[in-house]
């Protein structure tokens, strides 16, 4: 095999490798975050239906002195 043939083959192989390397990988959308967020939003909605926000509001609007180390 002639040197020029070997050289052109090598260039072709190098070119294909570089092309593969510079090509951005296909974007794969992760499903786990959406499932996680959905599950917790449902959980929150259940909490709302049970009336928990009023309980949270009641606690948050009262100063709990022992909770902050006073008394």
């Amino acid at each position: 095999m002639e040197f020029s043939q070997i050289h052109s083959d090598a260039e072709a192989i190098y070119g294909s490798i570089m092309k593969k390397k510079t090509q951005s990988p296909p974007v794969k959308i992760r499903k786990a975050p959406f499932i996680t967020i959905f599950v917790f939003l449902v959980l929150g909605a259940v909490g709302i239906s049970l009336g928990e926000p009023s309980r949270v509001l009641e606690q948050a609007t009262r100063i709990c002195l022992s909770c902050i180390g006073i008394g």
Binding site: F40, G44, E52, R55, C67, I68, G71
Partner: protein, 297 residues
Amino acid sequence: MEFVRKWVQALFFLITNGYWNFPVTRGIYQGPLKVICSPGLNCYSCPAATSYCPLGALQQLMGGIRLALENGQIYVGFYVIGAMGAIGGFVGRMVCGWACPFGLFQELLHKIPSPKFGIWRPLRFIKYALLLFMVVLLPLFATDAFGFGQTWFCKYVCPAGTLEAGLPMLLLQPELRASLGLLFLNKLVILIFFISWSVVASRPFCRTACPLGAFYALFSNVKLVKLRLDRERCTNCEACHTVCPMGVHFNESPDDMECISCLACSKACNFNAISLEVGGIPLSAQPPCRPGKTQLQ
């Protein structure tokens, strides 16, 4: 990006502490906004606080479960856990880097010129123990004669509560000073300890003792917004090791539970190997390499 992050931190600080009428009322905000969950650690007994602290609310609910169930009320914390989990699922510990007032406070303290030290990495497990025992198990099971559990973490540890609520309330209501005791002294010592530590080490409370950070860290593999490492570009030059405020070796563990997505590593990377992604989609197309920089082989 650091400039933007500081502004976002300041914005969140002002949003979650937006009640500036407290010097007049000498009390805390009692309006309807307090039904909204603060993403970061922000004591709801702080006079300026406009939202509830997820850790405080969770402990209150855990402590009150037994009593509530006995009274036929199903208050088991779904609303609070749902809000915390949704935030965790969206951004995870990005909250620590971008939205936590106490994180901002520690960062500012760390700017004080002094010798700087690292933090022994196994200490990070303390925060998981605090989350399990002082936020969940003790409020749930160590109940008083009436069946009500205490807010153990708030009462005995939380330095954010002492700084944002304890000290301001003592200034606003001088009559409270008569009831100070060992409990407050203990909390004051913890606050001074973390303030001093923050000057010489980066974010010591976040890294060792914050149960909220520990909770959000549980979402490090499934959060929507996260940093991604392009292994093709990474040369393992370890530039990301030296700039990380949380001691993360990003090129070795891109899903590290300690990562707060502050983007310091992304800025430091000369090879654009670190970028932000949303649900697997990169937010920006990265150029091959920064101009003027030589790619290591």
